[in-house]
């Protein structure tokens, strides 16, 4: 399965939000082993595009293919391969860090041991907090917990909405290295960012502009 080329192909995608067309019949291609930087002003449809790729937003027209199948097709195994990190961290405040992380890994059928979590947590300097409830962490720490999902879950496609925002430089480096490692292992990364990231090797840049709904790859 994994030997197959895992590319994400977008054909004729049209998406709109509140009756306003954001993107009109665009074709995009994200090949395996690449990192794509999506950029553009606020409201240009970056988040909407990501949500459409993730299958959350209903597209008006067009299709998204993963491994050559429509993402909704069971053969695409898309739900298992995709890791989508949005603005909201999607962590339960009532659960501990470890419980939160173990649950998401378990949804992919992967049992994550506490030592695995500890390894990541120590890289992110939050290992002392593992038993704490998520609600007790600072915003920065919470963000780090959400980022550790990238390492703990064996996804093949990362869609990350503003992952670098409000990160300290150390964590920023950690994240860019993880992204490059992941791409080197033929993963696909799509992320948005307002600023350029030093030291991150980007293979494709896509700019979304508000006015003409024009896409330049």
């Amino acid at each position: 399965m994994s030997s197959k080329n895992s590319n994400l192909e977008v054909k004729g995608l049209t998406i709109s939000r509140n009756e306003q067309v954001l993107l009109e019949s665009i074709d995009l291609s994200f090949t395996s082993g690449t990192i794509t930087h999506l950029f553009g002003e606020n409201g240009a449809g970056k988040t909407s595009l990501m949500r459409a790729l993730a299958g959350l937003l209903n597209q008006d027209a067009g299709q998204v293919f993963w491994r050559g199948f429509k993402t909704s097709h069971p053969e695409a195994n898309f739900s298992n391969d995709l890791l989508f990190l949005a603005h909201n961290l999607a962590m339960k405040h009532e659960l501990s860090i470890a419980e939160n992380l173990q649950f998401y890994a378990a949804l992919r059928g992967k049992a994550v041991s506490l030592s695995e979590i500890k390894t990541v947590a120590s890289e992110l300097r939050i290992e002392s907090l593992l038993e704490r409830h998520f609600a007790e962490l600072s915003a920065g720490q919470q963000h780090k917990v959400s980022l550790s999902r990238l390492v703990l879950e064996n996804a093949k496609l990362w869609i990350l909405d503003e992952p670098f925002v409000n990160l300290d430089s150390q964590t920023r480096d950690w994240l860019s290295h993880k992204m490059m490692d992941f791409a080197a292992k033929s993963g696909v990364v799509i992320f948005t960012s307002h600023q350029a990231i030093d030291g991150l090797k980007i293979h494709q840049k896509i700019s979304l502009t508000h006015d003409e709904d024009e896409v330049m790859a």
Partner: protein, 248 residues
């Protein structure tokens, strides 16, 4: 056969185009109004004047000629909404959602008319304007279903979401309507309540005007839906060129 089904699909497809509908419906409306007016003239003449007086209920039986058609349309309206909902969800046809939204308040008004005339009828026959009669109770629940639909549809800022959510509710509601009706009927027999509206064979002299009135109500319903749907098209297509040319 194949040909006619092909032309049906073309018609179905055209119906999905707001522009086609907007232009064509402008031509349909005068005709529909004319036929409806004729039917109402005949229907009202027969039902208010040229039909027999009920030997038990006297002249108050004439309320039936409004009450029954309104009841029929209240149920047909909900069913039509559910059909539009299915078409909208399955074929992603926006016109279908617009029609669904156009029907809701009209259906609710017809349900209200049914309840209101039923109550008026109840005063001389039951001696009270409300009795927990099975049909009346079902109509009341149906009115609640309509109101729930309208409330849900109006509480979204995103129209797309409102359409799809309300469509799901319409389908769930339509599946429930027979269950509700059945259970209310059963509950009613259990409590041995009044069953004045339980009619046996209806006098043929009453049948004809009733059918004419039902026909007139059907057409009136269709007209009102078309009018509201045209407004809905104007509302949603404000930015499109064809509409601006049309309205200019």
């Amino acid at each position: 056969m194949a040909n006619s089904s092909k032309s049906f699909w073309r018609w179905f497809h055209q119906l999905g185009s707001p522009k086609w509908f907007y232009q064509k419906s402008a031509k349909w409306l005068p005709w529909l109004w004319a036929i409806t007016a004729i039917l109402f003239v005949f229907g009202l003449y027969f039902s208010l004047y040229a039909s027999p007086v009920d030997y038990q209920q006297g002249n108050s039986v004439r309320i039936m000629y409004i009450h029954v058609p309104a009841a029929v349309l209240s149920m047909v309206g909900y069913l039509a909404m559910a059909v539009c909902a299915v078409i909208g969800l399955v074929w992603k046809m926006k016109m279908s959602f617009m029609a669904m939204r156009a029907i809701a308040p009209i259906g609710a008004v017809f349900t209200f008319i049914c309840l209101f005339t039923g109550s008026m009828w109840g005063i001389p026959t039951w001696g009270t304007w409300w009795e927990w009669d099975a049909r009346m109770t079902s109509e009341l629940v149906l009115l609640f279903l309509y109101l729930g639909f309208i409330a849900l549809h109006s509480s979204f800022s995103d129209r797309n979401k409102a359409d799809r959510s309300a469509a799901i509710l319409a389908i769930v509601g339509a599946i429930n309507v027979p269950i509700i009706y059945g259970s209310v009927k059963w509950w009613n027999t259990l409590h041995q309540a009044y069953s004045v509206t339980k009619k046996g064979a209806i006098d043929p002299q009453m049948q004809t005007p009733l059918f004419i009135m039902i026909g007139a109500f059907y057409l009136l319903f269709v007209i009102l839906v078309i009018v509201r749907l045209r407004l809905e098209v104007i509302n949603r297509e404000t930015k499109s060129k064809w509409l601006q040319e049309e309205l200019a």
